[in-house]
Subunit: 156 residues, 4 copies
Amino acid sequence: MKHITYIEDMNKWKDDFRFFYNVKVRFSETDMYGHMNNTVPFTYFEEARIEFLKYIGFMEDWVKPEHETIPVVADLQCDFIKQVFFDEEIKVYVKVKKVGTSSIDLHYMALDSKQHVCFVGRGTIVQISKKTGKGVAWSEAMKARLDEEVTSYHLA
Amino acid sequence: MKHITYIEDMNKWKDDFRFFYNVKVRFSETDMYGHMNNTVPFTYFEEARIEFLKYIGFMEDWVKPEHETIPVVADLQCDFIKQVFFDEEIKVYVKVKKVGTSSIDLHYMALDSKQHVCFVGRGTIVQISKKTGKGVAWSEAMKARLDEEVTSYHLA
Amino acid sequence: MKHITYIEDMNKWKDDFRFFYNVKVRFSETDMYGHMNNTVPFTYFEEARIEFLKYIGFMEDWVKPEHETIPVVADLQCDFIKQVFFDEEIKVYVKVKKVGTSSIDLHYMALDSKQHVCFVGRGTIVQISKKTGKGVAWSEAMKARLDEEVTSYHLA
Amino acid sequence: MKHITYIEDMNKWKDDFRFFYNVKVRFSETDMYGHMNNTVPFTYFEEARIEFLKYIGFMEDWVKPEHETIPVVADLQCDFIKQVFFDEEIKVYVKVKKVGTSSIDLHYMALDSKQHVCFVGRGTIVQISKKTGKGVAWSEAMKARLDEEVTSYHLA
């Protein structure tokens, strides 16, 4: 498998995931080359990320119109390992790799029904103020919850 | 050409359009059948509609966060006349067919570079209150501007 | 509820559905007005339609590259009944309304988790030849299977 | 500006671009946070990349159904510098950074109407065989054309 800068040891990296979200490749997500279009994994990453953020209890506030902060994507990347086709059932895994002051680095892994890695990715999200657009530090409770995710994976 | 319920006389109907917006079929808008996916014209209709609403001076207020009303789509339909392929340049025409108290009925026509009709459509949009979700009648100025559009087409 | 041309009696029309497909509104499917964008139901209709076509055994051939025919959408429409928001779980129902020589008229109904109708729709699909682009009549087996769907709903 | 791993000197990196493609942020490309959704730049990258591939004469063959090879995306990444909103006019620049045996590394830069950098990106595409799915080396003519692009930028 090709070298991917954010993965040191693929087997360890794979074992480190717990949380996943199921998607199925839609017909409208294919393109005239007959496979899933390259823009689609980023939508799957977003869905998996949001489900993960709901799971750790962060999303509820972030969708309230009156809430002061929202998460934004600072960067995002995807490495395509094998072609994916219409109707394939994909598990999109998410894990917290690193917790910053107001940001987290998330890693993603997509497995097909035969447990083959189809594509992988990573990206940073930052909590910002809706008014100023500047980063807002995690509260202690949020920080603790995020650290727990990092730790639990590494101990597992 | 097949019968389309909202078109009485295709030639007259075609002649009645003035305003159009250019789009080009994106690679990500094709599907594995090799042509433009059937969900895509609705995106083109939205783009053409918004350009039209900008042209008649309605859109500026409708994108202000503090403005009281927004336009919503009440219904939408599309009849597919010929297959459309990657990279085709399409002109999407829009006209006002009827003006209601708080709504307008818009018609759409898409022509390819050879002036062939690719797909046509129609749909009603309604001005609603962000707070109540209920229809809000056009102001007299808005009504006058809309009537002008209907009339100008029919006299032309 | 507003008048919808393809629905005579809403209660009977609703009772006539059996098959449904679950979708959840993605974050990327919302727009700056805060709700599901109006282009999205057509993607849901496509997903529900394809699941239905798999269920009646038609889809398998239609995704084989060497197969002679494909289904294409001849027309499509949607009536929006109530606003739909991020993360809502929607059941998209599909039924066969009428069987033509090479076409079927499908109806769609989307219910939210409280069983409220969010949007409804209809559209015709046609089996065409990949080579000629012309309609290809249903085989007797396909016709029989389609008639069964129409009948079973009406007897139920 | 934040550190981006594939950009050594931002000013030199910016000056190195020549080719660009215009896009305008669609309403359906915004999300409920009021800005362009994070999945959208990858569609813009694809459009700009394809226009670039047409410009250097590579695309014509790659869309022929009977042609033996197609380009596929091996990896893709985007760094978001500033929020982008509905209706913004964006220039998406593309350049060839490196030419491999069967691949090219492309860089992307998006400027708003005030010439501010909104987002940047990079990604590798590979020419593969439709049959085997394996990489197919550039012909000498293709290699020469690609090298020209790399060189012309660096001399300019």
